[in-house]
C-alpha cells in the first residue's frame, strides 16, 4: 500500500469514527462502557492524525511523544471525570 492509499483509507476510518461518535451523542443513556468507547475513539483519531497526517510516526521521538501524550491524557481525563467527579472536585477546591 503506498502513502496515498494509506491516507485515503485513514480518512475513511476517521469519517466512520466521527459518525459513530455522533450516533453515541444521540443515545439517551451514557454509562462507563459508552464513555470509554468515546474516549478510545478520540485516542485513535488523535493517533492517526499525529502519526500519519503530521507524519510523526518515524520522526523526532520527543516531538512524537509530546503530541501523543495529549491523546492518552485527555481520554484518561474523560474516564476519570466520569468515574470520580466528586474526588476530583474535592482535590480542585481551594480552601
Amino acid at each position: 500500500m503506498n502513502q496515498i492509499q494509506l491516507v485515503n483509507r485513514l480518512w475513511l476510518i476517521l469519517i466512520a469514527l466521527t459518525l459513530f461518535s455522533a450516533f453515541m451523542a444521540e443515545q439517551s443513556e451514557q454509562g462507563l462502557g459508552s464513555i470509554s468507547i468515546m474516549a478510545l475513539v478520540l485516542a485513535i483519531k488523535g493517533r492517526i492524525i499525529v502519526d500519519y497526517f503530521m507524519e510523526l510516526k518515524h520522526a523526532n521521538r520527543l516531538l512524537r511523544t509530546l503530541m501523543q501524550i495529549y491523546f492518552y491524557v485527555i481520554p484518561a481525563m474523560i474516564i476519570a471525570a466520569y468515574l470520580y467527579p466528586e474526588q476530583i472536585a474535592r482535590w480542585a477546591t481551594l480552601k
Binding site: Q3, I4, V7, L10, W11, L14, I15, T18, L19, S21, A22, M24, A25, E26, Q30, I35, M38, A39, V41, L42, K45, G46, I49, V50, Y52, F53, M54, E55, L56, H58, A59, N60, L63, L66, M67, Y70, I74, M77, I78, A81, Y82, P85, E86, I88, A89, A92, T93
Partner: protein, 203 residues
C-alpha cells in the same frame, strides 16, 4: 567564534533533519504548535474542573447544542486535514499544480467550517443559548470561539502558501513553508477532534 560554532551546529542539525525527515517543517512552527496545544490543554483543564463542580449543567448542556453542526464541522475539519496531507504528497511527487489544488480544498473546507459555526451560533441565539446562559455554555463559547479564530487565520495562511506555490517558490525537495502550514493545520484539526466529544457528545 561561539556564534560560528552554533551556526554550524544549527546548519548540521537542519541538514540531517531534512535527510532523515526527523522534524517535519522547522523548529519555530513546532514551538508554536506546542504552545497552542498547551493553550488548548489549559482550556480543557478548565472544562474538566467546571464539569466536576457542576455535573448537572454539564449533563444537560450538550443535549441542547446542535449535534448536527458539530458533526458536520468534525467531518469538514478531518477532510481538510486529509486535503493538506494530499497536498504534501503531491508536492513531494513534484506536482505543484495538484498540490495547490488540494490546498484549495482545505481552504474551502475552512470556509465551510466558519460558515457552519456562524449559523450554529445564530441557531444558539435563537434557542436562548448565549455565553451568559450558564457555565457550560460560557466554556463552550470560550473554547469554540477560540478555535474559530484559529481556523480563520489558518485558512489565510494556507492561501499564502498557495500563492507561494503558484509563484514557484517550492519544489519536490524544498517546500518547508508548505510543511509548516500543513503541521499547523493538523494541530487545529487535533484541537477540534478533542473539542467535539467534550462539548457535543459526552454528558
Amino acid at each position: 567564534m561561539a556564534t560560528l560554532a552554533s551556526t554550524q551546529t544549527l546548519t548540521f542539525t537542519r541538514e540531517s533533519a531534512r535527510k532523515t525527515g526527523n522534524i517535519p517543517g522547522n523548529l519555530a512552527i513546532w514551538a508554536a504548535i506546542l504552545a497552542e496545544m498547551s493553550e488548548f490543554a489549559v482550556m480543557f483543564v478548565v472544562y474538566f474542573l467546571a464539569k466536576v463542580h457542576n455535573p448537572e449543567i454539564f449533563a444537560t448542556g450538550p443535549l441542547k447544542l446542535n449535534t448536527l453542526a458539530g458533526t458536520i464541522n468534525t467531518l469538514v475539519m478531518l477532510t481538510s486535514s486529509f486535503f493538506v496531507i494530499r497536498a504534501v504528497i503531491a508536492m513531494r511527487a513534484g506536482n505543484q499544480v495538484a498540490s495547490a489544488r488540494w490546498l484549495w480544498g482545505a481552504v474551502i473546507s475552512g470556509g465551510i467550517y466558519l460558515l457552519v459555526k456562524y449559523f450554529e451560533y445564530r441557531w444558539n441565539t435563537a434557542h436562548a443559548i448565549t455565553v451568559e446562559t450558564d457555565l457550560f455554555y460560557a466554556v463552550y463559547y470560550y473554547i469554540t470561539f477560540n478555535h474559530f479564530l484559529h481556523v480563520g487565520w489558518g485558512s489565510a495562511a494556507i492561501i499564502w502558501v498557495i500563492y507561494r506555490i503558484n509563484a514557484g517558490a517550492y519544489s519536490s525537495t524544498e517546500h518547508e513553508g508548505l510543511i509548516n502550514i500543513a503541521v499547523y493545520w493538523h494541530m487545529i484539526d487535533l484541537a477540534w477532534i478533542t473539542i467535539f466529544p467534550l462539548l457535543y457528545v459526552i454528558r
